[in-house]
Amino acid sequence: MPSADGQACALVPRAATVGRVWQETHDTWSLELEDTDAPQAQPGQFNMLYAFGVGEVPISFSGDLSDPTRPLHTIRAVGAVTRALCALTPGSSLGVRGPFGVGWPLDAARGGDVVVLAGGIGLAPLRPLLYAALASRGDFGRVVLLYGSRTPADLLYPAELDAWRAASELEVFVTVDAASPEWRGDVGVVTNLVAKAGLDPTRTTAFSCGPEIMMTFCARRLQTLGVPDTKVHVSLERNMKCALGWCGRCQLGSELVCRDGPVLPFAQAAPLMATREL
């Protein structure tokens, strides 16, 4: 348990610098930060990124976490703060707090199959998990990525998806909701990929991130196959402010998503996600 001083310090952003910025899709950018005092982060955790004078938002880690001083964040510009963050240029300063939250329990999958279900920008928080699984590839059976996106132009990290396919250590299945005839891949929703992947329910531990509707449908499809909800882990997004479990803005029933999540077993998250009043 951190001391009161330690927790107070966790409310104060440290200054970091933008090292590199590049555009991923029409509305999404990746920022590699220079954050010399950053603690080691785990896949699935998040930082609070502060665009000075605009505001602070929780953004998951989306790169290789082996060098904590150069965290990578993939950000979709959808509001004032994220637009300001995506407009930063190399050398710009921003505030950083974190890492925060509970990450993906990859250890739970050791000896079995890792199944990653990503939707849209949801691939970003899952990429560190894939890196970690590939770094200790011998500990797992199949490592399968099922990724759905709106259109081919909205796919994140397309070059890396191709490289993963070619390397054959990772089975990659991609689908989009709509496409023109030039697209030679699958068209349809990501849940269709669950059947296509030929999963073994007795060996599967699943990790899912994307819109809640998508995660729910994916979990239900896995359940139909015989994968219990306790072996499906989802990442939730709520209105996080303090990131320390103090302010209660992100409270979801008995859980404070910033502190007890964002990653939760679907068995625990499902009743909360289905409650309209929460």
Binding site: S180, R184, V189
Partner: protein, 155 residues
């Protein structure tokens, strides 16, 4: 070389049928292959055939005058293609373009309807299988309509 009945035993849509029912509908079936870039059928064609895909990939497309062809779904091994043969006026509502060389088991729709009428247990099992496909595709279409990856979350 496998017989059509053995093929049907391997395909998800027909593997749950009783052997005598598989034998019955095999009488309506033949193997058909389609080359990449060809069309299995076009919008407005007579819907006289029901396909089970063995290999390859087929795109269901809708053509809009100002938007060109739009792919709404792709189908692959194990999927069914076409259900307009079940209902009057037996006319197809999509283009089915072959994305990669495709092999199918193709059933004569009128023959299937006749056998289902003669043997209602077979008819029930076929309709039950079709209903499951309708349900899955309706659920998928609803998800697509929800546009879950759109700009709904504002920060």
């Amino acid at each position: 070389m496998r017989t059509l009945e053995q093929e049907l035993e391997q395909l998800p849509f027909t593997q749950g049928l009783r052997p005598e029912h598989r034998a019955l509908i095999a009488g309506c079936a033949k193997n058909r292959a389609f080359r990449e870039g060809s069309y299995v059928f076009r919008t407005g064609d007579p819907a006289d055939t029901f396909y089970l895909l063995r290999t390859g990939r087929v795109a269901l497309e809708v053509y809009g005058p100002t938007r060109g062809a739009l792919t709404v779904q792709t189908l692959g091994p194990g999927d069914i293609l076409g259900w307009s043969w079940l209902f009057e006026p037996y006319v197809t509502s999509f283009d089915a373009r072959v994305v990669s060389d495709t092999r199918t088991v193709a059933f004569d729709g009128a023959c299937l309807r006749r056998k289902a009428e003669e043997d209602h247990e077979l008819g029930y099992q076929l309709m039950r299988g079709m209903a499951q496909v309708f349900t899955d595709r309706l659920e998928a279409t609803r998800m697509q309509l929800l546009d879950v990856y759109g700009d709904h979350a504002q920060r």
